[in-house]
Every structure is written in structure tokens, then in C-alpha cells.
Symmetry: C2
Subunit: 274 residues, 2 copies
């Protein structure tokens, strides 16, 4: 692992890093905030949305003041493998920048697009090895595609993640265009292969796995009805007895201006559970 | 004036705007945050540094949570006129993105580079006309080149600005390469024309104009010794009896990670004076 650059922020250290991932077979980049002090610190994994790299959350979310106050480390990985030799698509919602946090089984994606294995394996391993974080106290959150990633990875790996929240998540990718397009490409045309990566299906199929799930959703979000569908998540949680705190935030849109308005709540929420 | 886009943030409204400036003879862009509620609100003018547009502060500073809490509006203008027909230079520190907040007297700059008149005239006028702000309660702050702008505009127009602070300001542009290059281009080779735009010279030449000036400067800033020189500002303030709160912040660099760490202090500091 190489630290590409570091900045002091809110008394802690924000580092941009690169490391080789076995899962993706590529170099991967992430940012990590470590608060001041000795540690080990509980860790929040932040998964970003379509088109993002690790930089969007890092520069725009304004999360580190709250994280410093709570003594919480935050790691923000890139959203896909990248580079020459990595498959891509001209559309913004497929390929590089749009990994959807699944392990692709279909060509040309399967060779490098192994984002579930990357996040739950290589990323946590390198962070646990090189930074003062406590891998027994890890939460996960994210935005949009990354909200889908946070929900599904938390539900599929509840041994790794103790708390989960999301901003404007794609709640049921098998029932919206973004998700159907990506799952068809990465997982194939048979929808049975999609179901283990649909948060609503996972919740309906299993016992409640978390004491609560926090979701913030702006009512002014252009993607609310067509892609995000929090009502499906609410219904799934109700059916399964999974407590959900779904906050419909009036007038907020899909941007980082929405996230920065409520990120401190999420940081405190995770810190209280870690 | 046209509102190009708006976002709800921290309960208030952030708008990106464009308007025609008589001073620059070009369209100019700015962002403005208006808190929730009725107003009129006191206003903080934020001046950005080299290479920035209005977007850098708007997306990266994380200022709006504190501004919402304090009931403070914040306007962030672009750093220069732009566009075809506007003079420019290949270097990052001259021309578009590097207006230095002076009214240029030299060609090819004089036609459009009238940033002092723009900020103190057209910008405040349009903001006062179209938004619920109180132009009798205006403070000014900025970063680097914008810190120079905040100090000099406040000192030269103390009738307009009631409070002034800065992050890592170019304290004495006549005594550093960035300033000498820009002032030579915009104001000509005769240094006597520069002196009314050098904060240290202005402070030494006049009576104390503000109850206090707040300056934060990171000790890990790569430009500290070569360009910023806060020791010159401290000496000028001491000589003139101008109270200065100069905070040397250990380990912080020249980036927005530094500013976001202390922006809430500056917002509260201005709000207390407005």
C-alpha cells in the first residue's frame, strides 16, 4: 500500500492510498480518515454512488468534523476497478465508476469487477493492517448506488458490519432501470442471480439482522420515484420485522448538499453502535 | 440575474447565479447560501484563491451548517472574469482564475479585470437586490489570494465591511512572487501603484479599522514562507495598533481540508460582529 498524499483535517489525518487488490486484479484507491489519538478506532465504510471516485465523499461530504468528535475512522473506496485493460462502457451507469458492489459473473466484467469481494476482503484487510482501526467495530453507509451497496453488503456480511445506514439508496435494484441494467451486465439475464443482491429481497427472506437501519431520502430527489423507491424498503422491513428509521427530508435533492446536511447524524448513529 | 441551479442544504438554499457585471463587462457567476427563515440576514463575502471558481468553496468548505446555525448568508463569487474575449495567461497565477481583487490599469487586463469594483459594487448590489440580505451587516473572508482580497477590500472599504478574517492570506503581495507578478501585470511596473493593494502597507499607513482581524494559517502550508508571510502582517498590525488574532495551526496545509477544519470558527466570528 502506498499513501499518495495526506492532509491534516479536524485534528486527524486524511490519506489517499493505493494498493493492489487480488479480488479486482488491479490497483485500487481509497481515502481514509483517522482521528487524532491512539486508537484503535471503530471504522465506517462509505460507499459512493455512480460516477464517483473516493474523492467525492472525501472533499464534499463534510464528514470529518463529526468523525473527529466521535472518534470514528472513515474509509471511502473507489466505486470500481479502473484503468487500461479494465472493461468499460460509454454510459455513466455501467462499467468504470459503476461497479454496483457485486462480483460480476459475466464477461467482459468478471475479470476485474469483483467489488463485493474487494470491499469485504482486500479493502478491510489492508485498512486493518496499515491503520489503527478495530475490524470488530465496523459500520457501513453510502449514497445511491453506494446505499444499495451498504444495505446489501451489511445484510450479506452481518458478521463484518455492526451498523448500516444509507442516503438515497437504490432500495431494490431488480425493480429499477439502473439496477436491472447493471445486474443484467454483471450477473446475467437470469433474475434469480440478482435476488441475493437486492436489499428488499434479502430483508424479506431473512430474520432482522440489525437493531435499526437509518435511511435519509430527499423528497426533491429527481431519482426518487424512478430508481430509489424507499417505499419498497419500508415494506420489506415491515414484513420482516426489521426496524427501519426512514427519514423523508423535505426538499433535499440527490446531491452532496443533501448528504452534507445530515452526515453528522449518520456519523453519530454509527459511532453509538460501534 | 439568473439562478442557474439551487440545492437545499442545512435547511437553507444554495443557489448558483449568473449576472451581467458593468465593472467587468462580462457575465459573472457566484453562489449564495441563504439560511432558512425570513431575513434579512447578515452576509459574509467569501473570496477564493488562485485557480478557483465559486464552486470550490461551495462544495468543499463545509461552511453551511455553521452558517445555518448562525443565520448568516454567504456569497462566493468567481475569482475573475472569464470567457472568450477576456485576456488570459497560460500560468495558473495570472489571468482567468487569478484576478487578485484589484482593478487592472494595464493592458490587456484593464478591459475586464476590474474585480475590486465588481466585488464592492455590482456583486453586493445584485445580492442586495435579489436576496434577503442586509447590506449594512457585511463581513468578508477568503483564502490565499482571496485572503489578500478580503484584507485589502476590508481595509479600503471599511464603510462596506464590518468584519474581516482570512485563511492563509497573501499578507503582503508586494513582497512575494505571486503578488509581484500579478501586480506588475495588472497595475504596472511602478511599485507605488501597488502599495494601496498591499494589506501590510494599508495597515501600517492607517489607523486601526477593525476591533480584531482573525487569521488562520497552517504551519504545514507549502506556501507559508515563500508567498504568505503572516509575520509581515503581524508586524504591521503591531506597529499600527491593529488587534490581530493570528492562529498558527500546527500541521495544516494550504488545502480545503485546512479550511473546513476551522470555517465554523470564522462563521461564528463574523456572525458575532454582524
Amino acid at each position: 500500500m502506498v499513501i499518495l498524499k495526506s492532509h491534516k483535517v479536524h485534528g486527524g489525518t486524511l490519506s489517499y492510498c493505493r494498493h493492489a487488490s487480488e479480488a479486482t486484479g488491479t490497483p485500487m484507491t481509497f481515502s481514509i480518515f483517522i482521528p487524532a489519538g491512539e486508537g484503535p478506532f471503530p471504522l465506517l465504510v462509505w460507499l459512493s454512488g455512480l460516477t464517483c471516485t473516493e474523492d467525492n465523499f472525501t472533499t464534499k461530504a463534510g464528514a470529518y468534523g463529526a468523525a473527529a468528535a466521535a472518534g470514528l475512522a472513515i474509509v471511502a473506496p473507489d466505486t470500481s476497478p479502473r484503468g487500461q485493460g479494465v472493461a468499460d462502457d460509454l454510459a455513466y451507469d455501467l462499467g468504470q465508476g459503476a461497479g454496483f458492489y457485486v462480483d460480476a459473473t459475466q464477461e467482459p466484467w468478471a475479470k476485474h469487477f469483483q467489488m463485493e469481494s474487494y470491499i469485504t476482503g482486500d479493502l478491510l484487510a489492508v485498512v486493518g493492517q496499515d491503520f489503527p482501526v478495530d475490524l470488530a467495530r465496523v459500520g457501513i453507509s453510502g449514497h445511491s448506488m453506494g446505499g444499495h451497496g451498504a444495505l446489501t453488503l451489511a445484510l450479506r456480511h452481518s458478521n463484518l458490519f455492526r451498523s448500516v445506514s444509507a442516503f438515497a439508496p437504490i432500495c431494490s435494484p431488480s425493480r429499477c432501470d439502473w439496477g436491472r441494467k447493471a445486474f443484467t451486465a454483471y450477473l446475467g439475464a437470469h433474475e434469480t442471480a440478482w435476488m441475493p443482491h437486492d436489499a428488499c429481497v434479502l430483508i424479506e427472506a431473512g430474520a432482522a439482522k440489525f437493531d435499526d437501519i437509518l435511511v435519509d431520502q430527499g423528497t426533491g430527489d429527481d431519482f426518487l420515484e424512478s430508481q430509489l423507491k424507499p417505499e419498497l424498503l419500508a415494506a420489506a422491513c415491515k414484513a420482516a420485522g426489521q426496524t427501519l428509521t426512514l427519514r423523508m427530508q423535505p426538499g433535499y435533492d440527490h446531491s452532496y448538499f443533501f448528504m452534507t446536511s445530515f452526515i453528522a447524524d449518520h456519523v453519530a448513529w454509527h459511532a453509538a453502535r460501534l
